[in-house]
Every structure is written in structure tokens, then in C-alpha cells.
């Protein structure tokens, strides 16, 4: 069994670490305080990210992506998310669902996302539907060769800054399956508006908002993929989405542990650094164990995907990684905050910010409960996945 990270990935990881240290971390106080970045800072981060090839790391090279395999994407994501989400999320990405673009759509939507010139948002969740995604109520009706969308989306990341939304709506309500279609809806389209911006617990600067569709007319050429097959093109990305969410948890865990160790060594109480006390040592040991386990699960799920293991098995492994890593991050943040004591409760510390940011990881990209359902279903049907 060989756990070695390939040379070129290890080297690229160092570059990403430097990029994070130099280009992202210095802006953390600003993003925390102002819930966003000055435009010129955001532009400069995007530009440098594109030069390095951090944009759309998983996209194939022929569309301008870095073409990294899943393990490579995991390693880069882990490093990027040592920075707060509000900064890491500035790095341009493109969702794999956009690979379903036809030639004309490619030029208008996919390629500008890869280069960071256009921001997208993924509009699936609704006020009444989260985990039960197939239960969405937004409707699109075929009228005079166009589609008319009505409905409301909620908790949509980047909704307020997106140039276009990938919107899921029911187009074939009478069918049992193949009921839902994906649309590319550009900002400024009549009947399409950004609703309330949510005030969230964490991830300042990485904003979510509502989208409102009121007789929004979208031309047929803006259907992504085939009508009725919206979920077919979306689901391909779900396993890798879960692995990447697991990876997003590794970066903060590693940084929390670094900060916890540093603090424990220099914080003196009762005449000795608190690192001398076993109560603190045990907490640090549990943190290290959590991170190591989360890393192994995440890397091995990524590796399974890269080896072309059966999609169902990859899906189960991705769920295991996402479930464990997101919950481990919660535990690590809680312990490190405890080690910091009152200082860790102060907003100017990374610990306080990371603690708040951690909570959502157990909810989005499939709640912990959904992950358990996926894992259990796999287990009951196929036995333990090797």
C-alpha cells in the first residue's frame, strides 16, 4: 500500500500554501468585518489564481481547467480552505454540470466561469426542499417555444453576485421520473430577481441569498442538457461534491491544530505552559487523531474515484469521508476553542471564526443524516465496501 502523494502534486500544494499565506490570509480581518472584499482585492485574487491554474482545478484542460484528478483537487482544496471560506471561495470555479453545455452555451457560460470572468450559482434548494431535492416546486412551463419559470430558491451561494444561475425546475410534473430540467438563467432576465440576502452564522463574505422567478421567460437554447434530465447531469457531480466538502474540512482542522499547539506552548498558567498539562495534551491528541482519520478517508475516497471504482462504491466512500470529516471538524473546533479559553471566544481569533464556519459543513452537500442513509443503503445492499 503506497500512501505517497505524487511529486508534482506535493510541489503544487506548496505553491497553493504560499498563495494562501500571501494572497488570502492578509484579508481575513476585512472579510470578517465587512462580509466581503474590496472589488480590487477580489479581482487581484482571481487574476493570480487563474495564472497559477487554481481556477476550475477539476475541469479538463481543453476547456482551460487544470485537469487535476480528484486526489489533486482534494489536496488543493484542503490547502485553499486553510483560509476562511469568504476568501477561499473567491478563487474561480466551474461546476462539472456545465460540461453538459452545448457549443453555444460553452462560450457563454462554461468558459467564462473557468477563467473567472463570470460567476455562477447553483439554484436547487427551496424554502420547502433541502435534502429532498426531487420535491422542488419551482415550475417551468413550455410556452411559445420558450420556458416560463415561476418559483423561489433559497440559501443559494453567490446568488447576489452571480452573472447567471443554474436553475432546477419541474417541467414534467406528470412523470414519475425525469421530471426536472436545468436552465441557465442570466442576471437581468425579465422576471428573475435576487431576493433577501441571508445573514448567516459563519463564512462571512461567502454570501447566500434567495432567487425569485416570476413569469421569467427563458429561451429554449438556455436549457442545460435535455429537458426532464436535469438531475441526470447534476448527480454526476454529487459524489465529488461530497469528497470536496470533506476536503474543505481538512484545511481548517489542520490550521486549528497548528494554532492550538502554538497557543498551548506559549500560554502559561500556574507557572507552566498549558501544553504541559495532560488535560490539554489529550485534547490535542484527539484533534490529531480526528484529522489523520479524516484525511485518510478523504484521500482514499478521492483515490477510489481516480481508480474508476464503481460509482456506487465511490458514492458510499465519499459519504463516509464527508460525514466523518465534517463532524471531526466540529469536534476539533470545539476542543481548540476550549484550549484557547476566553480568548477563543473573541471574534478576532481564527478559532472563533472557524468554530462558527464549521457548523454548516454538517448540513450542506447532504446533511450528516443523508450521508448515513447513503452509507446504510449501500451497506444493506452490497455489504461493506472494501
Amino acid at each position: 500500500m503506497d500512501f505517497t502523494i505524487p511529486d508534482d502534486l506535493a510541489e503544487f500544494r506548496k505553491v497553493v500554501r504560499r498563495f494562501v499565506d500571501n494572497e488570502l490570509l492578509p484579508h481575513e480581518d476585512h472579510v470578517e468585518e465587512h462580509d466581503g472584499l474590496p472589488e480590487e482585492v477580489e479581482r487581484s485574487i482571481k487574476k493570480k489564481a487563474v495564472e497559477i491554474g487554481l481556477n476550475a482545478i477539476g475541469m479538463p484542460e481543453e476547456v482551460g481547467g487544470a485537469g487535476l484528478d480528484v486526489l489533486g483537487q482534494v489536496l488543493v482544496t484542503e490547502e485553499l480552505f486553510r483560509a476562511l471560506g469568504g476568501l477561499a471561495e473567491v478563487v474561480p470555479t466551474a461546476p462539472s454540470i456545465l460540461l453538459a453545455c452545448d457549443d453555444a452555451q460553452r462560450e457563454r457560460f462554461l468558459l467564462p466561469c473557468v477563467t473567472g470572468d463570470k460567476q455562477w450559482c447553483f439554484a436547487l434548494t427551496e424554502p420547502d426542499t433541502g435534502s429532498d431535492a426531487a420535491g422542488i416546486k419551482t415550475r417551468a412551463e413550455h410556452r411559445d417555444g420558450s420556458w416560463v419559470i415561476n418559483g423561489r430558491k433559497r440559501f443559494i451561494s453567490h446568488a447576489d453576485s452571480a452573472d447567471f444561475a443554474i436553475v432546477f425546475a419541474v417541467t414534467h410534473p406528470d412523470r414519475e421520473k425525469d421530471r426536472i430540467t436545468a436552465f441557465l438563467v442570466e442576471r437581468g432576465t425579465h422576471g428573475f430577481a435576487v431576493g433577501q440576502t441571508h445573514k448567516t452564522m459563519g463564512h462571512r463574505g461567502y454570501r447566500q441569498a434567495e432567487l425569485v422567478f416570476d413569469d421569467c421567460v427563458v429561451p429554449a437554447e438556455n436549457v442545460l442538457g435535455e429537458p426532464g434530465h436535469g438531475f441526470d447531469i447534476a448527480h454526476g457531480g454529487l459524489s465529488s461534491g461530497r469528497v470536496m466538502t470533506a476536503a474543505r474540512c481538512l484545511g481548517p482542522m489542520a490550521r486549528l491544530i497548528d494554532e492550538g499547539v502554538e497557543w498551548a506552548k506559549q500560554r502559561v498558567q500556574f507557572g507552566r505552559p498549558i501544553a504541559d498539562y495532560q488535560a490539554i495534551q489529550f485534547m490535542l491528541a484527539d484533534c490529531a487523531t480526528d484529522l489523520q482519520a479524516a484525511r485518510m478517508l478523504t484521500y482514499s475516497a478521492a483515490w477510489a474515484a481516480d481508480q474508476g471504482e464503481a460509482a456506487k462504491i465511490v458514492s458510499a466512500k465519499a459519504s463516509v469521508a464527508k460525514l466523518f470529516a465534517s463532524e471531526a471538524l466540529g469536534r476539533v473546533a470545539d476542543r481548540v476553542l476550549q484550549i484557547f479559553g476566553g480568548t477563543g471566544y473573541m471574534n478576532e481569533t481564527y478559532v472563533e471564526r472557524a468554530y462558527r464556519n464549521a457548523r454548516i459543513e454538517r448540513i450542506w452537500e447532504g446533511t450528516s443524516e443523508i450521508q448515513r442513509i447513503i452509507i446504510a443503503r449501500n451497506l444493506l445492499k452490497r455489504g461493506m465496501f472494501a
Binding site: 503544487f12 493570480k48 497559477i52 491554474g53
Partner: protein, 261 residues
């Protein structure tokens, strides 16, 4: 235009650096090797000059150092340099600035160049003399401490940083230029760059290959030697000035004794 950029692998300044007790040379195994920071600016400048000259220029990386220095070569190639020459030989171990300049000049003569670019000093030895020595040995113009470089045809102009501002210095190629950190912002290597670097040619030169007289380099050929070294003394407790309305005067008196004012 044929640009050669000289880079040096140095111990990471973020880690503890030490000298070897046996021959009093730098312990290169004790710390991670990284590219000398100012040499990154040199690589960036070479790449910018190449880009300004379209495809008509080639950037060759030259380094002198042990086998481990290939990491630094790869870094420069990942940034975008075209090829590299690695001057490496046990006989070079312990060379001082003067003998290093001799060895590098021999290698440069063999490679051929219109312009040599390097950082104005290294973070390990910090002699800051290599550019001048190279220019002298090669019999070409030296333009040191550059914060701006412009090449047009066979003429080169730099802005040379001084204590009072900068001088404008012009010369005719070939020339040696050393750069300071004000000159540019070095690019990050891209993932594609890292992958491409693995396929770029790296030529290894021994002392014999480069026509270097072995007795003029290394510890034996060095003109200077480290006679003795000791760890820096630990910092003292400092002086606490207690103010009783006269804190300012006392502080000023102290600064006068230290000749700060």
C-alpha cells in the same frame, strides 16, 4: 537574446541554520533547501524580458550546488525558464565568493549569453559580490542593484538603487545584472508549469566539463576561510527605565550612550 539566470539553493530562512563543525561550511542538510529569494526576482525579470522579446529569447537557469539543488532548478523551470545547467561536483564544496565566481564564469563562458541576471545577494552568505566578480571575470558590463531593467537591441538600461534614490546606468550587451526585490513580483509556478518543468532539459556539468581547474575551487581553492564561529549570545534581559516624570530624559540619555542620537 540568450538570457542566463543564476539561482542558488539556500537553507530556508524560516528554519534554524547552522555551520558544520568539521569544515565550517554551511550545513546544507540541516535545513530545507529553497530558492534564494532574490533569485526568484531574477527569474521573474528574465522571463519578463523574454516575454517582451517575443519568442526570440531563451532563458537558461544556471546553478552551482550539490545534487539536492535540482529542486531549485525545477522551481525556476516551473516558473517558466526554458532549460537549465547544473554545475555540480564534490570538488566545488566549500568554494568562497571568489572561487565561485571563477567556476560560474567558466560555466557561463561555456553556455554563452547576452545577459546574465541574478539576485543581488543570497540569504545565506550575503556577500553580495558575485555579480561584480562575474562581470569582471567575463569582461562585460556590470549593472548591479537594479530595480528596473530595459533592453533594446544591444543596449541595456537599468535603474540602480542607491542610498539617495537611484542612478540610471546604461551599457551595451553582453552584461551582468543583479536585481533587488523592488523590481517585480515573482509569479507563482502554475500546475502546468510544474508538470512541464519535468520535461525540460537539465544539463549537468562537472568541474572537468566546464574547464574549471579543480585546485582553484572548493575549500582548497578558497581565498577566504571561516576561522572560527560561535552561536549568537542569548539576548540579555534589557534595561528597564523607570520614569518618575523624567522617563523621556532617561530614555534619551540611554539612546545617547548607544549613539542613536
Amino acid at each position: 537574446m540568450n538570457i542566463v539566470v543564476c539561482v542558488k539553493q539556500v537553507p530556508d530562512t524560516a528554519t534554524e541554520r547552522k555551520l558544520r563543525s568539521d569544515d565550517k561550511t554551511l550545513d546544507r542538510d540541516a535545513a530545507d533547501g529553497v530558492i534564494n529569494e532574490l533569485d526568484e526576482y531574477a527569474v521573474e525579470e528574465a522571463l519578463k524580458l523574454k516575454e517582451a522579446h517575443g519568442g526570440e529569447a531563451a532563458v537558461t537557469v544556471l546553478t552551482m550546488g550539490p545534487a539536492k539543488a535540482t529542486e531549485t532548478i525545477r522551481k525556476a523551470l516551473a516558473m517558466g525558464a526554458d532549460k537549465a545547467v547544473h554545475l555540480t561536483d564534490d570538488a566545488l564544496h566549500g568554494s568562497d565568493a571568489l572561487s565561485t565566481s571563477y567556476a560560474m564564469a567558466q560555466a557561463l563562458g561555456r553556455i554563452g549569453f547576452d545577459l546574465v541576471v541574478l539576485g543581488s545577494e543570497s540569504t545565506d552568505a550575503r556577500t553580495g559580490v558575485l555579480a561584480a566578480m562575474l562581470a569582471e571575470r567575463l569582461g562585460v558590463a556590470q549593472l548591479t542593484q537594479a530595480k528596473k531593467v530595459e533592453v533594446s537591441g544591444t543596449s541595456i538600461a537599468v535603474e540602480r538603487v542607491t542610498e539617495y534614490g537611484y542612478d540610471k546606468v546604461e551599457a551595451t550587451l553582453p552584461a551582468v545584472v543583479s536585481v533587488v526585490e523592488k523590481i517585480n513580483e515573482p509569479r507563482y509556478p502554475s500546475f502546468k508549469g510544474i508538470m512541464a518543468a519535468k520535461k525540460k532539459p537539465v544539463e549537468t556539468l562537472s568541474v572537468a566539463d566546464a574547464g574549471i581547474a579543480a585546485d582553484q575551487v572548493g575549500l582548497a581553492g578558497a581565498w577566504s576561510e571561516v576561522a572560527e564561529f560561535a552561536a549568537a549570545p542569548p539576548r540579555g534581559a534589557g534595561t528597564i527605565v523607570k520614569g518618575d516624570g523624567d522617563g523621556g530624559t532617561k530614555t534619551a540619555d540611554f539612546l545617547v550612550t548607544k549613539k542613536f542620537i
